[in-house]
């Protein structure tokens, strides 16, 4: 059983797919589709009227869905870029400890290739910053958001 993505979350998925980032949209859809588990209390037995708590699966509400979509996009944009920067800096926490940095740099190479793959190009950081501001606007224009 898969619950449907609705509202603004659905619009974000369309935007992701149109940008060629369908795999991120698929991941959001899979999480939303599974719904969430909640405790559900019910009464069993005609006479005893015993109260029992069972585990039920319900869909995420539209605002929760939006949080999942926005959080996922931010993780793959801001979060991932921060990870890349951290790898490039070779663990800034240990900048003075040569034991922790046995390499001069870290390269990523595709199978069968010899030249490193560039993960980010010119313009990436600016696009990430701009996207971050836009996603913040989506949050603040929601009911209950701090616009």
């Amino acid at each position: 059983m898969a619950f449907e993505t609705v509202g603004d979350a659905k619009e974000l998925l369309v935007a992701l797919r149109e940008a060629g980032l369908g795999w991120i949209a698929d991941q959001v859809e899979a999480v939303i589709g599974q719904g969430k588990s909640i405790d559900r209390e019910f009464v069993e037995g005609e006479r005893s009227r015993k109260r029992i708590v069972g585990l039920a699966t319900v869909p995420f509400g539209p605002e929760e869905q939006l949080d999942i979509a926005l959080g996922t996009i931010q993780t793959y944009t801001e979060g991932l870029h921060k990870t890349w920067k951290s790898v490039q800096l070779l663990q800034e926490h240990d900048a003075g400890d040569s034991h922790s940095r046995p390499w001069s740099g870290i390269d990523f190479v595709a199978p069968g290739e010899t030249q490193p793959v560039q993960f980010y190009g010119p313009g990436s950081e600016q696009a990430i910053d701009e996207l971050s501001l836009l996603l913040r606007r989506v949050r603040t224009t929601q009911p209950g958001g701090s616009a």
Partner: protein
């Protein structure tokens, strides 16, 4: 959502996708995260006073650590990534990433990060064979996810854990999941969640935990 805002998001996403090859395939963020966790392991070993040196896949000293974007075989220089040769307490080991290791059932499993006894690794390179689980000291599975971790990752990790008899076998992720945590903990595995540069406190805790655990297994 306003149409104008939606259009602006759309355009920015298009620009971002075009300028960021890391986002073109879902495996690339995983590999980048794996490299970052690798640096955490090295950090823990550095704190323990281990001596480390990067070696290329042919076991020659190299300046850069090379991560291949696909799993490799330890004895195949064209498919294996580079590794870190380390000495600790007078013994030698190697930290590898993305290599295949033979599990208890003799099936090969790709391990995101592992520590292998140096003499075992040398034996493998010399005879073109894969390392055995009994000579592997640590395994780390790395998962980079946008939202919560899917339960099947927990199930997969349990299956992998059954194949390896060792103290340190852990699932490390930037995300979290109560269900996966419960499942893994119940079956003698460990899960370290919210480990990412965006969570420095959790990361420091993870590095400290690795330091303690590694001390127990690299005798």
């Amino acid at each position: 959502m306003e149409a104008q805002l939606r259009a602006a998001i759309q355009q920015t996403l298009v620009r971002l996708a075009a300028s960021s090859p890391v986002l073109t395939q879902p495996t690339r963020p995983e590999k980048l995260y794996e490299a970052w966790v690798f640096t955490c392991v090295v950090r823990a070993l550095g704190r323990l006073g281990a001596t480390m040196q990067v070696r290329d896949s042919g076991d020659n000293a190299a300046p850069n650590l090379l991560f291949r974007l696909a799993p490799g075989l330890i004895y195949s220089p064209t498919t294996a990534s580079s590794f870190v040769f380390l000495t600790y307490n007078g013994r030698a080991y190697e930290i590898h990433h993305g290599v295949r290791v033979q599990g208890r059932s003799s099936v090969l499993h790709e391990l995101d990060i592992c520590i292998i006894d140096r003499d075992e690794a040398n034996r493998c390179r010399k005879n073109s064979i894969n390392p055995r689980q009994a000579r592997t000291r640590l395994l780390i599975e790395c998962k980079f996810y946008g939202a919560t971790l899917p339960l099947e990752l927990g199930r997969e990790f349990l299956g992998l854990g059954k194949e390896f008899n060792m103290r340190i076998k852990t699932l490390v992720s930037n995300a979290e999941s109560d269900d996966v945590h419960r499942l893994v903990s119940r079956h003698q595995g460990t899960a370290n969640f919210r480990i990412a540069p965006t969570s420095p406190a959790e990361t420091n805790r993870f590095v400290a935990w690795m330091e303690t655990e590694i001390k127990q297994v690299l005798l």
